[in-house]
């Protein structure tokens, strides 16, 4: 474990006050030094922490490089992923680090206004951010917007639409938020953890940032670990392994047992190899996996992967913003078929159709909700291959006999 974002007072003490934050980390660098911030973030190799892992410096540069007008910064703390808690923990305990990031981002891209977009179920985070805003000088005109509980509300075009019109459903892009977003202005949508990292890079530099990390991608990341004795949010070096995480959190599952990596948008992985692979965005990508938003769910040895997948499919079908036909009908069909398999009532061609949908539903929605959902299904069909077969052919569960 490597504490950077979460260094300082114990997390159970709640939000770190502004004075303590400034004393511990020092003031933000002045105007002159900030000029080099975008190149520093690019040199650090910071990747977005909302899921997609897009290079943060490149996004700032493209918003900063627009031809005219003001931009707007949206700090994304929607955290609609049911297995993730890291954004709310960060906002509730280190609100000023996030606000530092907002201030720096606004400065770098030429914005005077910012929106803190905080999921309405994350009351602790919202209260901490509200208090933090009152504590510090108002450099950027910042307001808090709280979207309703919904998976898709955290998607960037949905976030912009909710701020503009009160409707948290994704819209078809282009134009993308960075071209035309809040009030029609170019909008930098950035996850709150990404912004907090920028605030550290501004103070300590790219070389310092790159000191952490065990594999190709440098830096630390917040992860949300579940299915262990002490579940919760940890900060770890990128490249840490599942075996390490299990050891640090009192994991009881046997080595190599299935793990859900990346949450409901992620993939199942299993096997001793998987437990030793570095949780490094580049290394994971080479295996067709993604670091996503840092969710690590240990399943344990006595749970049924088919049943767990069926529950997730049902949740995702219910999360469809009900705008795009293939998402509405496709995810419902996927959820129904997985539920049938899980309850030993599969139709003869359910497995074949499920396999087909893992390809045919990719790229078929305005947002990537279908892509993420069938991506998880695809991994489940591979990792639990014999379980799906037993559930359909023998109508029994190998795990819970």
């Amino acid at each position: 474990m490597t504490a950077r974002l979460l260094s300082g007072p114990a997390l159970n003490l709640g939000a770190e006050p502004y004075d303590a934050h400034r004393q511990r980390l020092g003031a933000l660098p002045g105007k002159a030094e900030r000029a080099g911030l975008i190149p520093a973030i690019e040199a650090a190799g910071l990747l977005g922490r909302g899921g997609a892992g897009f290079p943060v410096g490149r996004k700032w540069a493209s918003v900063a490089g627009r031809s005219k007008g003001q931009a707007i910064v949206l700090a994304n703390g929607a955290e609609g992923e049911p297995m993730s808690m890291k954004d709310r923990v960060l906002m509730a305990t280190r609100p000023h680090l996030v606000l530092d990031g907002v201030e720096l981002a606004a400065d770098a891209v030429g914005a005077k206004k910012a929106v803190l977009y905080i999921g309405s179920e994350h009351a602790g985070a919202r209260v901490a951010m509200e208090a933090a805003l009152r504590e510090r000088p108002r450099v950027v005109d910042t307001r808090i917007v709280t979207p309703p509980v919904s998976y898709a509300a955290g998607e960037e075009s949905a976030a912009v639409r909710f701020v503009n019109k009160g409707d948290p459903r994704p819209v078809t892009v282009p134009p993308r938020p960075f071209e035309k977003g809040i009030d029609g202005k170019p909008t930098l949508v950035q996850n709150v953890e990404s912004l907090a990292n920028a605030a550290l890079i501004a103070r300590y530099g790219a070389a310092w940032f790159r000191e952490a990390g065990r594999a190709e991608t440098r830096g630390t990341a917040l992860v949300t670990v579940s299915g262990v004795t002490t579940p919760g949010v940890l900060e770890v070096e990128l490249g840490t392994t599942l075996a390490d995480l299990a050891a640090w959190t009192g994991g009881t599952a046997s080595v190599g047992s299935p793990v859900l990596l990346g949450g409901y948008f992620g993939s199942w992985v299993a096997g001793p190899d998987a437990w030793q692979m570095p949780l490094d965005p580049a290394a994971l990508r080479a295996r067709g996996l993604a670091f996503g938003c840092g969710v690590v769910g240990f399943m344990g040895d006595s749970a049924c992967g088919v049943a767990a997948t069926a529950r997730i499919m049902d949740y995702m079908a219910g999360s469809s913003a009900a705008q795009c036909g293939p998402c509405v009908y496709g995810l419902r069909a996927v959820a129904d078929a997985t539920a049938r398999v899980a309850t030993f009532a599969a139709h003869p061609d359910d497995l074949r159709r499920l396999r087909g949908w893992t390809e045919s539903l990719v790229g078929r929605g305005a947002c990537r909700l279908p892509d993420g959902t069938v991506g998880l299904l695809r991994s489940a069909l591979t990792v639990f291959e014999t379980d799906w077969a037993a559930h359909t052919a023998q109508r029994r569960c190998q795990v819970r006999a």
């Binding site: 997609a52 892992g53 994704p170 993604a290 705008q323 293939p326 305005a366 892509d371």
Partner: protein
């Protein structure tokens, strides 16, 4: 035609607003080479740019959509691409299936 583009590439692609499309299906009737319908009647559009010889059909298909869910979009050359997400070196998220099986109706690769 732009010299940087492959032979026969029209430099346009079909973009669809999936939040609007209501599965009328006229597009697939007029451009079966590039658009097929899934089991619920929603269009599956072949990846990539429209081949030059199909551009006129594509234009008709786009104009036929009763609720204007389709449009032809000019595709910038990689060199002129300004959207950061379409620039090279950024992997898709969530990850895509290993290889997407090409459909029979796709025009052959040169």
């Amino acid at each position: 035609m732009n010299a940087r583009r492959p032979f026969m590439d029209s430099g346009f692609r079909i973009e669809i607003d999936r939040t609007v499309c209501d599965a009328y299906g006229t597009c697939a009737e007029l451009l079966p080479e590039l658009i097929t319908l899934d089991e619920w009647g929603y269009p599956i559009i072949a990846a990539g740019n429209i081949p030059e010889p199909l551009l006129n059909h594509a234009r008709q298909a786009v104009e036929s959509c009763p609720i204007v869910a389709l449009r032809l979009a000019k595709v910038p050359t990689p060199q002129a691409e300004t959207r950061p997400d379409r620039q090279t070196g950024v992997p898709p998220w969530p990850p895509r299936p290993p290889q997407q099986t090409p459909r029979k109706s796709m025009p052959r690769k040169r």
